[in-house]
């Protein structure tokens, strides 16, 4: 079945939402745990908050969708945001980044913003990695910040909807927040779902009876592109876990792959054979910060890692799109990280 529209990378990003359309069940299941849950805590810093960006534009299909948190209560959400603004960051500029395609939220938010001048609405293309802090700062605030820099020291705060509501609950309503919504998705699971988990639950309990039997799978926290792989599944879930992706480990050969692209897609298979760089320009076309990753690769294989630093390597936001798109299946992101690590040592 070739239902999936395979889109090539377009300039400065990739539309993951169309390439991997994940459907989630509308019913949100609560997962019980016998451990005592941990509490969500947040303290506003003493320094001045200059910019607040609310991220309602998740660009990864496995991220928590907006409708789960906001429902039909966009206006109520914005009222809460206003209350927090008046109390904690009265002088900050508040911007909201919304996915251009979610017309319902966009219409409501624009209707709200027309009456209120403290808020700015930005409708963005949901192309990955538009929701990266560096990209947000560039697109919305027009600021150049470096990757890996602590943006809170510059007075920039980026929240997603769920964190914002949790902060409202703890700081203003003085309630305890000890559970959060998490999406579970991937080819290694029986079905994609959204669950409410107590903080401190182990991934082990979360995935019980949900993974497919008799297959090998890998578990990733916060997505297979930017997230990390989990090998110790007794690890606890904290507030930074937004989603868990379980991918099938397709390490056997599949016959006639051109007819079975849906069987291979969304697995950890590299979907091709490693080859030499053919200078196809896919990596610099897709790079969101306009770098030329093949230059790093060629410096690296010539054994001149230090040369890679000359080509603006510090701007790389480690989104992984260059490795993702590479038809020669080169490990470009690993090479970038290695060259960067050299930078830090010297």
């Amino acid at each position: 079945m070739l239902r999936r529209k395979e889109k090539m990378g377009f300039h400065g990003g990739f539309n993951l939402l169309d390439t991997y359309p994940l459907k989630f069940c509308n019913i949100i299941e609560e997962i019980q745990s016998d451990r005592t849950p941990e509490k969500f805590e947040f303290h506003f810093p003493d320094q001045k908050i200059r910019h607040v960006i609310v991220n309602l534009c998740p660009t990864e299909p496995w991220a928590l969708p907006n409708w789960v948190v906001l429902g039909h209560k966009t206006t109520a959400f914005l009222d809460k945001l206003y209350e927090m603004k008046t109390r904690y960051f009265p002088e900050a500029s508040v911007s909201i980044a919304i996915n251009k395609r979610e017309t319902e939220f966009v219409a409501k938010a624009i209707g709200y913003a027309n009456a209120a001048d403290w808020i700015k609405i930005y409708t963005l293309d949901p192309k990955y990695p538009q929701d990266d802090p560096v990209m947000f700062a560039k697109v919305i605030l027009g600021l150049d910040i470096n990757f890996g820099q602590n943006i809170t020291t510059q007075g920039i705060f980026i929240f997603d909807a769920q964190t914002l509501l949790a902060i409202y609950d703890t700081c203003i309503l003085k309630n305890t927040v000890n559970s959060r919504l998490i999406t579970l998705s991937g080819s290694g699971l029986k079905e994609n779902e959204i669950v409410r988990v107590r903080l401190g639950t182990s991934i082990d309990t979360l995935l019980q009876h949900r993974t497919q039997e008799a297959i090998k799978y890998n578990i990733f926290v916060n997505g297979p592109l930017r997230g990390r792989e989990i090998t110790d599944i007794s690890q606890k879930i904290d507030w930074s876990v937004n989603n868990i992706v379980v991918l099938k480990d397709q390490d056997s050969k599949v016959i006639f792959p051109m007819l079975k692209s849906d069987e291979l897609a969304f697995t950890t298979n590299i979907l091709g054979e490693p080859r030499q760089c053919v200078y196809c320009n896919f990596c610099d076309n897709i790079c969101p910060v306009e770098l030329e990753p093949a230059l790093y690769y060629h410096s690296y294989i010539r054994g001149e890692k230090h040369k890679a630093r000359l080509y603006h390597l510090e701007k790389c936001i480690e989104c992984g799109l260059c490795s993702f798109i590479c038809p020669s299946k080169l490990e470009l992101l690993r090479i970038n990280k290695e060259c960067k690590a050299l930078d830090r040592k010297t």
Binding site: M8, K253, Y279, H312
Partner: protein
């Protein structure tokens, strides 16, 4: 209950697995047939490699599909039109000889001798180019020699990804130097009209005719533009039907396999410089539109110059590359005894691409 296709698939899969383990456990067999089997297996089955580092998912687009797209574009761009214009006997025999000599002999023997791990799919593209660059009535052994030389040359340079110049064009240059007589004769006039059964069975009568550029050089004769565009004027086997080449190349550009900057700058600079030259020298140089639609310019600009390995990697430097190609082509065509200069222009700019890329990087990063 398994359906028939499923059980056939299982059977093929099982036997391929058995062959693979048989080959890889015996070093001597592996030495001879390892790479051949890997190449064959790679066409039928997906790879079993999984992503070990971030990102853990990869796009479903590999070099095989990349090269496959070029193959498809070339089949629609020159193979099908020339089957009509020159008869299937002429075209298919040359293709068969080119593939056998290039991919199945030169590449396989090289892989065995040089102990390559895999046979590159780029060889198919090179071997599909070779007959297109030669005259329609070039002897078959010349086509085979050209294909074998192209593959050999590419492999000596280090395989796909390391070649300095376009292997197909280099092989054409080699043949031009060694067999000049064979490459100036044999330009068969294409047949027009509805093919009948007689020509289908016995081939088309061979009437040779000078190529438009030679005709212009010798007696100032201009071929009609429509005939140039549709392919009814004589020329190399693959370069005549320019409308099909343009359409196929536009598809390649749309799916981003070919970079649009090179054809635009190449054809644009040919047009602008030839307007300039006609203004300066009048009737002695060919008019701009005739320059655009004659010779191998369309094939060269859309398919040969866009070969990503031999151009510059930097996108801005590609403009320089294209403009350089256009200028050299026109200088050779108008001011030398050579009727056609596309091959020399692209080969020269392939070599110049390295300093251009070096300069572009220097300018961009101020190193």
């Amino acid at each position: 209950m398994k359906t028939l296709p499923q059980s056939i698939e299982l059977m093929i899969n099982k036997n391929l697995d058995r062959m693979e383990s048989f080959i890889h456990t015996r070093p001597k067999v592996d030495f001879l047939f390892g790479s051949l089997f890997t190449a064959f297996d790679g066409l039928l089955r997906s790879s079993k490699d999984t992503a070990g580092t971030q990102p853990f998912i990869r796009n479903n687009y590999d070099v095989k599909r990349y090269m496959g797209a070029v193959l498809v574009a070339l089949v629609f761009g020159w193979v099908l039109p020339s089957v009509y214009f020159y008869g299937w006997q002429t075209v298919l025999s040359r293709l068969a000889v080119s593939f056998i000599a290039g991919v199945f002999l030169a590449d396989v023997i090289w892989a065995i001798i040089a102990r390559e791990k895999h046979i590159s799919e780029g060889g198919f593209v090179t071997c599909l180019f070779i007959p297109a660059l030669l005259p329609p009535q070039a002897p078959l052994w010349l086509v085979g020699l050209g294909a074998a030389l192209a593959i050999l040359f590419r492999n000596i340079m280090g395989g796909v990804g390391n070649n300095l110049v376009n292997p197909a064009l280099f092989s054409r240059l080699f043949l031009t130097i060694c067999f000049p007589a064979l490459l100036t004769a044999g330009y068969q006039a294409p047949v027009t009209g509805i093919p009948d059964l007689h020509s289908f069975r016995y081939g088309i009568d061979v009437i040779t005719h000078a190529t438009p550029l030679t005709a212009f050089k010798v007696n100032g004769e201009l071929t009609p533009y429509l005939s140039l565009l549709l392919g009814t004027a004589s020329g190399s086997l693959g370069e005549t039907c320019r409308i099909a080449l343009i359409l196929a190349a536009l598809w390649l550009i749309k799916i981003r396999v070919a970079n649009w900057r090179i054809p635009v700058s190449y054809l644009g600079s040919v047009f602008i410089f030839s307007v300039f030259f006609s203004f300066l020298f009048g009737q002695t140089v060919a008019p701009p539109l005739f320059q655009l639609f004659s010779g191998g310019l369309i094939l060269g600009a859309f398919f040969m110059a866009t070969d990503p390995i031999t151009t510059t990697y930097n996108q801005t430097a590609k403009w320089t590359f294209g403009i350089g190609c256009g200028l050299v082509t026109l200088l050779l065509r108008n001011f030398t005894t050579l009727p056609e200069g596309v091959m020399y222009a692209i080969l020269l700019m392939n070599l110049l691409a390295i300093p251009i890329q070096f300069l572009a990087v220097k300018l961009r990063y101020h190193t």
